[in-house]
Subunit: 304 residues, 4 copies
């Protein structure tokens, strides 16, 4: 029995042309670029996709177009994280019709839920879902983590099929992997921070949901494959490139939004899609855009 | 020129009979109880109202019925806090038709916005709003605070008419009051934590948005009036009762939800409305309910 | 039965001329200035006194000279907070010989102690102390707070005689006051943040341990007296001056050290004492010093 | 040019028989056990050694006896972290006489230092030190981290010879490694959390300062060697044992002290040394001790 998903599943940025309008051509180019780069799936409406900042109408739209462009070439996963269980369930039902393969939820994130509340939340959500679901651990933004007791419970739920961990805490990731070992060989354990991709795979993880794979999918796919093959030397070389990209692209802005801004700005400079950002964020100004352009040249994603 | 709102404006709990259904009779009793108790307004869809946990449909419903029951006797304020600016604006427009007097927003709360981002967010939101708006400072749940620079800017926006501060940080409250002093005598400064009501009024504040006023409106109104009149002795006596209520009712549960659970349970024991809670929370179990019953007797809200 | 201490007890800055040398003349001027200003005691070796940054030798020295200069005119309290119980006890014994009236301790602050551990810590420390002791609640720097259960226990210990609360959380302060009400009329409840002095006194507190009283003791003493007398109008006027001083002097630097740097720089500009700071901090540079000078003129502590 | 230290350097627990007395025989057994287990050095007076809780007298004593028992077989490193630069320097000078090889310091930890202050602190400390020094990144307990700018500066200081990182943030560890790559091939990068040992070595790190190596030095040495040799399969097997030990021994207590308590209790059950703990902590009660005994049997450190 194999894990449901293995490899790189980029948390897709949401290409926008305006506050509530999708950059549809950009989306098509982006989807094709990632699939051509060898990704194992696409994760729409995650944190990198600015999901909570988008209108529900646009979220539906995005998923519909994404599924159309992907056209079955790889699985599509969709984030349904919400503060309202009812809205989560509604979105899950809606996107199921577009051919989505699985949904993904983190904890409801306004009120910080205790662990028993978190379990009950999932217990209530599961019967509403027409699709399998992955848990998404994102404590920095949801104020809570899926603790051992909740994950142990989740492993007894057939509909729950894996864990995406964006905590940056590799000890947590390894401990959760260890819990699953004998019980759920079908669970996928995917790591969020791309700078930990190699190590997560060495530890037994199944891949990454790495923002940088929007921009340079092949690099992350290559690193995943090297790490899976146990090629330490090549993993270290490719990891150095991942760190270089991370330093170059994610450190230009000041606030928490620097990663998404850096990715969107880069994709815009590469001619893939617009870099409009949903409120409360705004695209980079010209000066920051110029720095990103220089950095893209340095890491050879733009010609000199 | 006087502040727009003065007095006690309870952050109304949302009476529910089930996951997505309103306790309409309970709502009517609750509204009447609060108005009979002398409140100066009603604030629907705040944190105590579990707003982020409710479906949008139910949020509309609640506001419509609330306005109907209030029937112009006091102003109605409605929380439109959301992670999506578009959904905030949409809700504001919808509720304006029901006769709401003002809307209230805290910071978008998934991504923690930096201060310049927060200002730009408000700048973009304001033109969309058909109603005046109050800012709602709630850093524990939104991960960010309205800093001096943003509040200073806000004081130059005619549509922004006040600040509700739930930070629990009375130094912040006093500093913001001081900023407004000469500039915006029409701004209302309302304090969230009821245990700080007297002190906030002594410092020049205009009232409180206090959860306990769902349960015992007269106590908070009396305290507000004593503090406004500069009656220190009576303020201290009534403050002691507020602290006693707070100790009795809010400390039964373990998690962050203990306050709302305690209020709903108490209102249910008093026969006002159902104590169903929206996910991720659940009403108290029988044992906790019994403790709340005893405590209500001790503080004389239930007969012996 | 009256509280042991009532009024303003400044947390004295430690005047230094170099890394490990006291500004003895400056200390004398400072002590006299505060006593002339009407303070009810002096608290040496607190946070504002940079105690943890000083050598033990210098701590002894400081207390010896302070007691000599005070010469019984007001009580002297001394901070013995340490990560090592043995060093705390040693310091307490040493300073008892100089005529100190009480010692003060916050929680041991490297390892964050749980509440039972905190109680046991105090239980072990008390028999070692030749002097009565006040608790000092400073969660921002010690990572832990004295919770209700520990304070309740402390109220049964004759040797513990009060609580200084620097949490900035006035709800906590009021709840602790309420605990003590019937049990320990001799306990002193003193508030740390000077911007909360009036409100703490209105709520039943007995005074303040306010950094600004190093610089302008009379202002804080006047405010304490106005608040004690229930004079709301005058309290509000004087509170405005306290906020103005706070804005003027504490907001020049960027880091957590801005308050101490601002105080020392001001005292140096007033000719009271040197502004040398113990590592890891450094005195203000010329540009910041010039801003402080302007601000001191604005708040009329320096002539135009 | 090779890194100064490579391999496992246990952060030695401090065996005590009472509040201020060393378990000297236990210390000798412990030192021998670790050296027999193949460790590459011994780190005394770290967090696991409860250093901040000990009297200075006992700290001196411990280092003197440790150096005597080690007798040159492996290097000895000594923690001099303190809130007072003068006490840090004093301890460094004292222990240099006992034959210590290097000292180790984290940030001064009462006041949270800003980055420029941290650099200036080190600048002032370095000339006082008779020995080379390693930086020790421990943000959870010191409230601050050594950021890129400070580490870059540190790489230009000959006397600074490495970084021990206990942040648990492997991305940070990798970024710091990358900074050093070309510049300081002599720097040692050691990881604190033992659950990250293999991954830290795969990423280019030089070893671990792992608490568990007090108890089972051979396991950590074997894992270090497997990871250094690039043996992924064996690393995974041994990592599983490390995780099992961590789950068995560190999760019995509730508070932050659970790791040290678990280690000391285990060593006591194995007959190595006393499990007395310095305030504010206490050794495990009988019930917890029995659980530890069972767990030690399960992981085969005690016979059935």
């Amino acid at each position: 029995m194999k894990p449901n998903f293995r490899g790189i599943i980029p948390p897709m940025i949401t290409p926008l042309t305006g506050r509530d309008s999708l950059d549809i051509d950009g989306l098509e180019r982006l989807v094709n670029r990632m699939i051509d780069g060898g990704v194992a799936g696409i994760f729409a409406l995650g944190t990198t996709g600015e999901a909570p900042s988008l209108s529900y109408r646009l979220r539906h739209d995005l998923v519909e177009h994404t599924c159309r462009f992907v056209d079955g070439r790889v699985p599509v996963l969709v984030g349904i994280t919400d503060t309202s269980l009812i809205e989560s369930a509604k979105l899950a039902k809606a996107v199921a019709n577009f051919g989505v393969d699985a949904v993904v939820t983190s904890a409801p994130f306004y009120f910080p839920a205790g662990q028993p509340e978190l379990r009950e939340y999932l217990e209530e959500l599961l019967p509403e879902l027409p699709l399998p679901i992955m848990l998404y651990n994102m404590p920095a933004l949801t104020k809570t983590s899926f603790h051992r007791e909740v994950v142990t419970w989740a492993m007894n739920q057939k509909k729950i099929i894996g864990l995406k961990d964006s905590s940056g805490d590799l000890v947590y990731f390894k401990k959760m992997l260890r819990l699953a070992a004998s019980q759920r060989p079908d669970w996928s354990f995917l790591v969020g921070p791309e700078e930990l991709l190699a190590e997560a795979v060495f530890a037994g993880g199944h891949g990454g949901v790495n923002g940088g794979a929007n921009l340079h999918p092949r690099l992350y796919v290559d690193l995943f494959e090297a790490a899976s093959a146990g090629d330490l030397k090549r993993s270290r070389e490719l990891s150095a490139k991942v760190l270089a990209l991370s330093d170059a692209i994610y450190s230009v802005g000041q606030h928490g939004s620097a990663i998404i801004k850096g990715l969107k700005c880069s994709l815009s400079l590469l001619g893939i899609c617009d870099d409009f950002m949903a409120a409360p964020f705004h695209r980079f100004h010209k000066s920051e855009r110029n720095i990103i352009r220089e950095h893209l040249t340095e890491i050879q994603l733009l010609p000199v």
